[in-house]
């Protein structure tokens, strides 16, 4: 394979996996010297059985849960981060435990930065690698299998005043410990399983196609795709299938490590814009837009898309490279349809509140998205608009 001029691999998060593991974190908490733990979660997670069992388990270890902040909305913002950080500081917490999905985890990253650094999150640390020193220990128990945020260096937090999503990219935002316990994902309904799972699939595919892909990110992205291919439908059909749940959780994590290195591309750019302007949930937007993003990049990535075709059991005999690449895109369309039938997933932007008149604005916003520099083809307004029209 042709190697890029430069790549690096740095995955400092300790990852532990096991059904029921969230209830017994003594060894890991001792390692981190976490004693006064501030929990960040949301109101929904707080009602789940495993949540209280997790808290009780921590309090049995000699560490102490000093407080809980559960007012985290779906698209969390700077105000929420401020509230959480104020409470965490008042409680003199020495570490943070995030239990939840992407919004909770990103909020916890923001709260951790606010609590650990002198300065204002928005004014002083918005951007790339602006944080001067490591933060307090951050432990994450993801309750969905999609975001990958438990291992990434990115936090996306809404600026409520400007109605824009702010990106914070910093090596110090990477959590110290990711606890992958498939039991905490058992209650996810099929729709959420499918949308978060396709978010993970989009992470893996775009990490594999991106300009910063390396042999390291490739290995993780490809393995993630295999595990999602084999388990997403099973997990939607039978939410109690612990093996399928475990595979999805690990796949999401692998895809997270992959895209934390090689980033994502125009598919995520379009998805972020659909989310910011029309409120389309991130996973749903990625589910709809992924095959269109692959098609957008067809001319730049024929060979790599051909690899994905084989991954979807397509035999290349008698096919040109381009035909094989197109088959990979077709396979993702077919997976979309399967999830539409099995989990009620939408397949068009028009089904999720996007209006045709919104498309030009979404295309414009996509061009300003930070993901565009990692896309293997130049991101051009007219072509993005065309992709959006096709997905509409």
């Amino acid at each position: 394979m042709q190697l890029t001029d430069f790549f690096q691999f740095h995955a400092p998060t300790k990852i532990v996996y096991g059904p029921g593991l969230a209830r017994d974190l003594e060894a890991e908490l001792n390692d981190l010297k976490a004693r006064r733990i501030f929990v960040i979660t949301d109101n929904h997670v707080q009602q789940m059985d495993f949540y209280q069992e997790t808290i009780d388990g921590i309090n049995r270890t000699g560490a102490q849960v000093v407080g809980v902040f559960s007012d985290v909305p779906a698209n969390s913002g700077l105000k929420t981060v401020k509230q959480g950080a104020t409470l965490g500081s008042e409680l003199e917490a020495d570490s943070i435990l995030a239990i939840g999905g992407g919004s909770v985890i990103d909020t916890a990253k923001g709260v951790n930065a606010e609590m650990s650094l002198a300065g204002d999150l928005m004014t002083d640390f918005c951007g790339t690698h602006t944080m001067p020193h490591p933060l307090n220990p951050l432990i994450v128990i993801p309750t969905t299998a999609g975001t990958g945020s438990e291992v990434t260096l990115v936090a996306v937090i809404m600026n409520e005043e400007e109605k824009t999503k702010m990106a914070f990219v910093d090596r110090y935002l990477v959590p110290n410990l990711a606890v992958l316990d498939p039991e905490v994902t058992l209650s996810m309904p099929p729709y959420l399983t499918a949308s978060t799972g396709m978010d993970a699939m989009a992470h893996a595919v775009e990490a594999y196609l991106g300009v910063d892909a390396s042999p390291y990110s490739d290995a993780l992205a490809l393995q993630a795709m295999v595990m999602i291919r084999d388990n997403i439908v099973k997990a939607c059909q039978d939410g109690q299938n612990i093996e399928a749940r475990g595979n999805m959780l690990v796949a999401s994590n692998l895809a997270g490590v992959a895209f934390s290195h090689s980033m994502v591309g125009v598919g995520h750019g379009m998805a972020h814009s659909c989310g910011g302007l029309c409120g389309v949930p991130h996973g749903v937007a990625n589910h709809i837009l992924l095959p269109y993003a692959m098609r957008y990049n067809l001319n730049a990535c024929e060979d790599r898309l051909g690899v994905l075709a084989r991954l979807f059991f397509i035999k290349g005999t008698g096919l040109t490279g381009r035909e094989l690449a197109e088959k990979a895109i077709d396979a993702v369309f077919e997976l979309q349809r399967e999830l539409a039938r099995g989990a009620g997933m939408p397949v068009r932007l028009s089904q999720v509140g996007v209006k045709e008149k919104d498309l030009p604005e979404i295309a414009t916003a996509t061009l300003s998205d930070g993901t565009c520099i990692y896309n293997p083809r130049e991101v051009v307004y007219e072509e993005v608009l065309q992709s959006l029209k096709e997905a509409f």
Partner: protein, 138 residues
Amino acid sequence: MAVFENAEVLEKILGGFFRLLSGTPEVADKLIKAKLIIKFHYTEPDLTLTVDCSGDKVEISANDDTKKPTVEMFMKAEIAHKFWYGKVNLTAALARRQMTAKGPIPKIMALLPAIKPAYAIYPKYLDDNGFEKYNIHK
């Protein structure tokens, strides 16, 4: 050893280049549309250049602390020099922290298409203005 001998030389070269771009409609029109104030913090030698696109024309100033920047970029002068040659892999430079960006990333990204023509202008600018010795192609 640093590429530029001192801040005065750096100001002459990069400040002059920005002033050239500010008079190049192909670039300047897009910068003005973005309505940003960008402050570049250079080290080795130390200098800041502020590119103010918030008005009707692009204004360049050195070591100017009177304007509040929307976006700030931090890098060694050598990295900036190579960047304008198109010889810096931006994603790698960000990953290696050779460049750091402070402020709203989408606004920074929106500028990239605007400055694209500048890569071809920079070497010619050096040659045309008596800075041939800094032309890394020579």
